[in-house]
């Protein structure tokens, strides 16, 4: 194993200056290791290939060992990590493919194209598996709203997602947008896609059959994005990506999607692999590595969009909307006709070989020759050197404030950056295309997509709270899984699979290494406790900006739940006259959270109570209540606490709520009861006549439950504590986003 410490440059030792080696993404000891294994120094093309394959982005140098901690198996799992996407069975011969991926660095530089190509990339990961994409969610993190760059980044990222997702006809149904000063120089754009396929059509990307032809289809190859993978593993996004940004063409991807799915349906596809980071290099190497074979490519056969490109540029271009397809020898002609029908350029660019080598030719000349195991298996693996930073906050024993104007506090929170309505973004997305969207944005605690031709539904949620992560990365990661699971349980669904996107700073720094290690342990613990496997994911490290430091650790969790029949689904909107029941442990103090940060101006507070066993009991209860059709609304209690959960239920259906003040005054007092962010809680609405049955079911399930009020009217009221007209709540909630970006009301 290598040490991550950079050795002092030994000038003249290598044929390349050390600075150039670094430019290709390699540390000098890594280069030395490669030379030793290779028995010679690589030429420039080979150095480019090596740098890309050994980058953090492709090679997971710092995270590989940790990731082995994650539970990746289960009775439903058809495909775990290692392919383009994970896949799980949903019964009746159907499967769901899911994956989340980051496009952080490109979005920091060019938010529109960065976000658009992020969506394009994640879509390809899904349809490469043979699945038709049915939903997109985006987990977005931006810096201080008052920073002059933030509105530009927010508007650009939203526009990019809309540009790509709307055109290709996959509904954008959910996700999250949060603001935290740590993202000011380095926004996070994590896109998640879910697809559905007949399980027997699951297509993998492992090479087979030496001599079989490799076909490249889709966009012609240009000079865009050359060496993106190596640069993404640098820690200054603005310095790194200039000139290497890819540009998306959703129309071309739509053609590619339909052509590939049709091809897989017809049969005969041996392997399919999309071209993402490190383009043709990583796609061909990974395909060969999975099959334990080799690959030969003639760059002269690669269709180009510009003249004069050399082998290096062709192999490392990150031009979008390209796919590598492997078929049996003799099938080429039929394949060309098929792609021509769709107006797509396709070419046989090489073949699979038996010798375990990637050989790149430029016509007759061999320009690179590297052993596949060197690129795929010998990637340096670093042991992290985690150190718990001394600056971790101690927040025990902080006072719960008294004398707060609770109505004012509620209105402030409803209009605040992390809690105000996201309609500003969602109205720019098509959330109803494909005619399967049962719950779009804001309609359920999770998005809900009907599986065509069945009574199955997929509930989908993405979650992660940077404030909790900063306070305690282990429990913060657990909370992200717990909240996502709770969201899908509120809809009535059972969690069946998780995908994650681990966004962290530079792992060579001990405190970042500690955050990463703690977070992965937390994810693993929560997934085990809630019995849900992680089947795919992505790691994005080096999210730092010169002078601003690392981002808050952000392991974004994307979780898919299954509900059947989907007709049992439960939305968040209150129904007039319903009893409002709080499920979960009463609070005893005011945790850290939005009230402390926004209203009190100091986010410090105890970590919200989190009990994974209690979460599991609550999830089981919520599902059984939905199946028995005993509840008519359900919303999880999370950011902002009970008051925000109740307000969201009220705003969703324009039905107010009257809370029982005596219940709020008990326990930790009204401030904590209304605004603490303790986990493991949900607010459900049911017919008054059903309330005893709901409470009895809760007792039987071991979940504390109390009637805390009734839905109805046009106000949010807790007599003597709180009284807010719904219209005022709506005004604060709906104007918040445009206001924080400094836009006038005319934009929305």
């Amino acid at each position: 194993m290598l040490s991550a410490t950079v050795a002092a440059p030994v000038s003249g030792r290598w044929r390349y200056p050390v600075a150039q080696i670094r430019q290709f993404g390699l540390l000098e000891p890594e280069y030395a290791q490669a030379v030793e294994r290779l028995g010679r120094e690589p030429n420039l093309v080979e150095l480019g290939i090596l740098g890309a394959m050994w980058s953090e982005h492709c090679g997971y140098k710092h995270s590989r060992r940790l990731l082995k901690l994650l539970p990746t198996t289960g009775p439903r799992v058809l495909q775990g990590p290692g392919e383009n996407a994970g896949a799980v069975s949903i019964g009746d011969g159907l499967a769901v493919a899911l994956k989340m991926e980051s496009h952080n660095h490109p979005s920091a530089v060019e938010p529109v194209q960065g976000a658009a190509t992020g969506v394009g990339g994640i879509l390809r990961d899904i349809f490469t598996m043979g699945a038709r994409p049915v939903a997109i969610l985006d987990s977005l993190r931006f810096g201080d709203p008052s920073d002059h760059r933030t509105p530009h980044l927010v508007d650009g990222v939203i526009a990019g997602i809309a540009f790509y997702g709307n055109c290709i006809g996959v509904p954008t149904v959910g996700g999250e947008i949060s603001f935290d000063p740590s993202y000011t120089g380095n926004p996070l754009v994590n896109a998640m896609c879910v697809g559905v396929l007949p399980a027997d059509r699951l297509t993998r990307a492992a090479a087979s059959g030496p001599g079989n032809p490799l076909i490249l289809v889709g966009a012609d190859t240009g000079r865009d994005g050359i060496q993106g993978a190596a640069f993404a593993s640098n820690d200054d996004p603005r310095a790194s990506h200039r000139g290497v940004i890819q540009v998306g063409n959703p129309f071309l991807e739509k053609l590619l999607l339909e052509a590939c799915l049709e091809l897989i349906e017809r049969g005969g596809v041996l392997a399919m692999q999309d071209l993402g980071a490190a383009g043709l290099t990583s796609s061909s190497v990974e395909m060969a590595a999975r099959g334990g074979l080799g690959v030969e490519i003639d760059v002269q056969q690669v269709p180009r969009r510009e003249t004069g490109m050399n082998a290096f540029e062709v192999m490392l271009s990150e031009s979008q909307e390209r796919m590598l397809v492997l078929v049996e020898r003799g099938q080429e002609a039929g394949l060309m006709d098929h792609f021509a029908h769709w107006g797509l350029h396709a070419a046989v660019i090489g073949s699979i070989t038996a010798d375990g080598t990637i050989r790149i030719r430029d016509g007759a000349e061999t320009v690179a020759e590297l052993p596949i195991p060197l690129l795929a298996d010998d990637v340096p693996a670093y042991a992290l050197r985690p150190e718990r930073p001394a600056t971790v906050m101690d927040c025990t024993g902080l006072d719960v404030p008294s004398g707060l104007d609770l109505s004012h506090a509620l209105l402030s929170l409803l209009g605040s950056p992390n809690l105000c309505s996201r309609a500003y973004a969602f109205v720019q997305y098509d959330s109803t295309v494909q005619a399967n969207t049962a719950f779009g944005p804001g309609e359920g605690a999770a998005a809900l997509i009907r599986v065509e031709g069945t009574h199955k539904g997929l509930a989908i949620s993405t979650d992660c709270n940077p404030r909790y992560m900063r306070l305690d990365p282990r429990r913060g990661a657990q909370q992200a899984v717990a909240e996502a699971a709770r969201n899908v349980a509120c809809v009535g669904a059972e969690p069946i699979a998780v995908t994650d996107c681990l966004n962290f700073g530079n792992p060579e720094k001990p405190e970042v290494a500690w955050q990463l290690s703690e977070a992965v342990h937390g994810l693993a613990e929560a997934c085990r406790a809630l019995d849900v496997p992680i089947v795919s994911g992505n790691v994005s490290l080096y999210n730092e900006t010169a002078g601003l430091g690392a981002i808050a650790p952000t392991p974004a969790v994307g979780l898919v739940g299954l509900i059947e029949p989907i007709e049992d689904r439960v939305g968040i909107g209150f129904h007039e006259g319903d009893a409002v029941v709080l499920l979960g442990q009463p609070v005893d103090t005011l945790s850290t959270g939005e009230l402390r940060a926004v209203v009190l101006g100091d986010e410090r507070g105890p970590f919200p109570r989190l009990d994974l066993a209690a979460e599991r009991r609550l999830g089981d209860l919520l599902r059984s209540l939905a199946q028995a059709r005993r509840v008519r609304s359900a919303q999880d209690v999370s950011d902002g606490g009970l008051a925000i959960a109740v307000a969201e239920c009220a705003l969703a259906s324009n039905v107010g709520c009257r809370l029982k003040s005596e219940v709020l005054r008990a326990d930790g007092g009204p401030v904590a009861a209304l605004f603490s962010e303790d986990q493991g809680r949900a607010v459900v609405g049911c017919l008054v006549s059903e309330a005893p049955a709901v409470l009895a079911a809760a007792v039987a399930a071991g979940v504390p439950a109390r009637v805390i009020g009734h839905a109805g009217g046009t106000r949010l009221v807790a007599p003597g504590l709180l009284d807010v007209p719904l219209a005022a709540a709506r005004a604060a909630h709906e104007s918040g986003f445009a206001r924080l970006l400094g836009h006038t009301g005319t934009r929305v």
């Binding site: 709307n166 055109c167 006809g169 959703p250 739509k254 295309v433």
Partner: protein
Amino acid sequence: MARFAVIRFPGTNCERETVRVLREVLEQSVDEPLWHADPRPLDEYDCVILPGGFAHGDHLRAGAIARFSAIMADVERYAARGGLVLGICNGFQVLLEAGLLPGAMLRNATLQFRGAWVHCRVERTDSPFTAACQPGQVLRLPIAHGEGSYAVAGPEDLERLERAGAVLLRYSDPAGAVTAAANPNGSLGNIAGITNPRGNVFGLMPHPERACESLLGSVDGMPLLRSIVQHVTTERGEASVTRELSPAC
């Protein structure tokens, strides 16, 4: 039973659900989508639908390239012979570009794509496309478009359209009041859907096919699609076979 044709351009993205809803929810006969590059007589069909999407990526201008597709000549002949042609969203834009409907689409007044649930008031019920609606009925339908601001050259053109009763659907509030606040895209006269002078071609920006199952939040697309079936079967002298609206769940 009516027989529908659904046209598929490269970049069309609503053809699958359009076919599915016609088949499974309305229980009508629908062939697999017809490819734009394959010209063919359409006389065997009772109605031809141009579904939503981004034909040819909406490059240049929505519908501007699709109108030159080979099958559009057949659609024009079919319409000239009185066949029913329905254009939904991008299909509406293609019909405008092809000159089968009057007017043009501009970018939304917000200059942004807009995906939302809107209300539309039915202005006439003596059209093949609205005959199953109630007069003045307000429909809750989804929209999803970036170029949906309906425009004509001048006030006299709008006046002519209004006098001819070309407007079949208008954006309104839930009570049916046609207001500026209810207009999601800046369309002249809150126009959401118009028909041609002969009344056999209809284009609308909202998506009725996305609002045919209560699971999806609305069944208000049904009366529009049922109108076509009702018209076809009545013309043919068949007893109306359209079943009462029974939400899927």
